[in-house]
């Protein structure tokens, strides 16, 4: 096993899938010769040729619309959206089409495809290179939404997404692209979708998180441990369809729940976790169900480190529910 960065694992996953299955295609803006603006697709055009890894004109609507058509006609398209912030021109194709095709055609037509896109803050990208839009897609039945937080999961979840019979939005935490490293098997393997990962076993407080918030929560949990608070950390990693039973169980375990996301709070994903807990485990709760999230503002630039949840804010919430 080699030690890889998260983006290295994505590249490895793509390469592995393209070697295993001729029908897998990778396309989007600047993914060919340039290898993507983050270099996630580096070397793929070289290895697989211009027919299997190619650049497209500058239209996210065209990218996703064409991907749907390819998927309907037997290919396995992987479409890159350069930044998640630029997915909105394709919103109609994703929400109205990819997500609803199987249902509306009574199962006659399907769109098994993967949309890869880097998301989140931490690179001083300001309003439009930092957003975390997962909630938009998690409110869209028919979509699957996957976010890895480790190199191992990045490759395994990506390969599972590519093998999945339904459209998957695969969101890559760009803040972690090169900042996390880990062992990644060289061969093909998958990590099952709709399973959570227990990052840390703990007894006092349960923290749910995913993507770039996982290392932040790990840091906070380590600090909490020093203060004698034992934190149970769960990486949700498939946001939709969520392993709800796993969430409910983990919430019941400690009776104190915090969810951490970098997206704005209002109507965001953290609220769904709170709602699931309030609906299914309220008798077990010994404290308010808290959310630590980005603020309900657009994403700022210079002050992004104040906007993004950090260990300070997470530990503050952990202590609040612990001492309630």
């Amino acid at each position: 096993m080699a030690i890889q960065t998260l983006i290295g694992a994505v590249n490895d996953g793509l390469r592995t899938a393209m070697r295993a299955d001729e029908s897998v295609l990778m396309f989007g803006e600047d993914v060919g010769l340039k290898g993507g603006v983050f270099l996630a697709t580096g070397g793929l055009q070289e290895e697989f040729g211009k027919e299997r890894c190619f650049d497209t004109p500058l239209s996210e609507d065209g990218i996703i619309g064409a991907a749907i058509g390819m998927a309907m006609n037997g290919m396995k398209p992987i479409a890159e959206i350069q930044f998640q912030d630029f997915i909105f021109p394709a919103f109609d194709q994703i929400v109205s089409e990819a997500a609803k095709l199987r249902y509306r055609s009574g199962g006659q037509y399907t769109a098994p495809m993967v949309i890869r896109t880097p998301y989140g803050g931490g690179i001083r990208g300001g309003l439009y290179h930092s957003q975390s839009g997962e909630a938009y897609f998690c409110h869209t039945p028919g979509m699957k939404v996957v976010i890895p937080s480790t190199p191992y999961d990045a490759k395994g979840l990506l390969l599972a997404s590519i093998a999945d019979p339904d459209p998957v939005l695969f969101m890559e935490p760009k803040a972690l692209y090169r900042s996390v490293k880990g062992e990644v098997p060289e061969d093909y393997y998958t990590v099952d979708l709709s399973t959570t990962r227990t990052v840390l076993e703990g007894e006092d407080v349960t923290v749910f998180c995913y993507g770039a918030m996982v290392p932040v929560v790990e840091k906070a949990a380590a600090q909490a441990a020093e203060k004698g608070i034992s934190v149970h950390v769960v990486d949700l990693r498939t946001l939709l369809p969520l392993d709800e039973d796993g969430v409910i169980e983990a919430a019941k375990k400690t009776g104190r729940v915090v969810t951490v996301t970098e997206a704005p709070r209002f109507c965001g994903y953290a609220g769904e976790i709170s709602a699931i807990v309030a609906e299914n485990a309220i008798e077990y709760m010994e404290a308010p169900v808290l959310r630590v999230t980005g603020f309900d503002t657009p994403f700022p630039n210079t002050l992004e480190h104040h906007y993004l949840p950090d260990a300070r804010r997470v530990i503050d919430a952990i202590e609040k529910v612990y001492s309630f």
């Binding site: 239209s59 065209g62 058509g69 390819m70 194709q93 009574g106 028919g142 339904d166 709709s194």
Partner: protein, 382 residues
């Protein structure tokens, strides 16, 4: 015969007619088709008209919620469909189902959709006229959001091309559809990829109440091909032969690897936008009267008559036959049960995930305990 370059506007905007209103063909054109095939064209157009007539009655009597009339545009559908093969892809709009009828989709299967019943291939989930068939042709699931099928057609065509197949994808849409983002991205991509797509713009004069000349300031719609380096032609949409030839040529061009074509079929929507729409508030009567002279079935009857294949009695017999077929289909569909409650919860994903399964179970349990939900009246305003 009508293969203009994409850079001569005069050629692109010149209207191609083969069969005129008097039933005569240009330059001694002969379709080279056996009589049965010609009569199949005729019957297909008449079937569309019968389908419309019966649906209007069903809607007026409250049996179905909604239908989309095709009066005046039957030749677009049949002419274009006749030029394609059974292994080609159709990415249709809601005003294209004549293509399905031509290729042998059964009227009763269409009627099941109009009633949204248990035998509807879309399992009663879509509004009427949002068909979806895989057999005998790939008539891809119709969507309501306009223009979305266009880049999908490009993708499907591109997939075929990558595999070295020679199938083409027909993407059909209206004058209004050209303003959508799907139109723009599809033509951009198809132009660059040289995708084997036939873009069929049926300019039927209106997008609901907006006249085609207020939709865009361009000189017609075919000219838009120039913005994308896409071959383009303008065709008389009420002329089944011109439609057939233009589509054949576009398909041949595509199969040869030369790329897409944009066909503008100039025609006219003789009825309302739908069975809920009253066009008299916005379509001038003179315009309707003028187009009534150009009816696509009339002129085809004259053509058939000249070949000894048609007279008034035969025409009436065909009408009666078509009406009977559609009527029987409607009766069968009306007598079919609605879809089962389970169909709400399936097909969101290949496998039903836990949260949806739970919602379904709760719903079945509730129904057992408290009875069925009450149905509304189902009147659709548009």
């Amino acid at each position: 015969m009508m293969q203009p370059s994409t850079t001569d506007p005069a050629k692109i905007t010149a209207m191609h007619t083969i069969l005129n209103s008097a039933g005569e063909t240009t330059d001694g054109y002969d379709p080279g088709l056996p009589d049965e095939e010609l009569l199949h064209y005729y019957r297909s157009m008449k079937l569309v008209r019968a389908f419309d007539d019966i649906c209007l009655k069903l809607q007026r009597s409250g049996r179905i919620g909604f239908s989309i009339p095709n009066l005046g545009i039957e030749a677009c559908q049949i002419g274009a469909a006749s030029a394609l093969r059974k292994d080609d892809w159709f990415f249709p709009s809601y005003r294209d189902f004549g293509m399905a009828l031509y290729h042998g989709v059964k009227a009763v299967d269409m009627m099941h959709n109009m009633f949204g019943n248990a035998h509807d291939s879309a399992k009663g989930r879509q509004m009427p006229v949002h068909f979806s068939f895989t057999d005998p042709i790939k008539f891809a699931s119709i969507s309501s959001p306009l223009g979305t099928q266009l880049p999908q057609a490009v993708g499907a065509a591109h997939a075929a091309k990558l595999r070295g197949e020679d199938t083409v994808a027909l993407a059909s849409f209206g004058d209004g559809g050209t303003s959508t983002l799907g139109f723009h991205s599809a033509l951009t991509f198809a132009g660059v990829w040289k995708s084997p797509v036939v873009f069929l713009c049926q300019n039927n004069g209106y997008a609901i109440s907006l006249p085609a000349h207020e939709q865009t300031a361009s000189d017609g719609y075919a000219i838009k091909g120039m913005a994308y380096g896409v071959r383009a032609v303008t065709v008389d949409g009420n002329d089944v032969f011109a439609m057939r030839e233009a589509t054949l040529e576009a398909a041949a061009y595509a199969r040869a690897g030369d790329g897409p074509t944009l066909i503008e079929a100039v025609t006219f929507r003789m009825g309302g936008h739908s069975t809920s729409d009253d066009p008299s508030t916005y379509v001038p009567k003179e315009v309707v009267d003028e187009w009534a002279q150009k009816d696509p079935i009339d002129r085809f009857e004259k053509f058939l008559a000249a070949r000894g294949l048609w007279d008034a009695a035969k025409g009436e017999a065909t009408t009666a036959e078509c009406l009977a077929e559609i009527d029987a289909a409607a009766k069968e569909a009306a007598a079919t049960a609605p879809p089962k409650l389970e169909t709400i919860f399936s097909d969101v994903y290949e496998e039903i995930p836990a949260h949806i399964r739970k919602q379904g179970e709760a719903s079945f349990e509730l129904q057992k305990r408290l009875g069925e939900a009450a149905a509304g009246d189902g009147a659709f305003p548009l």
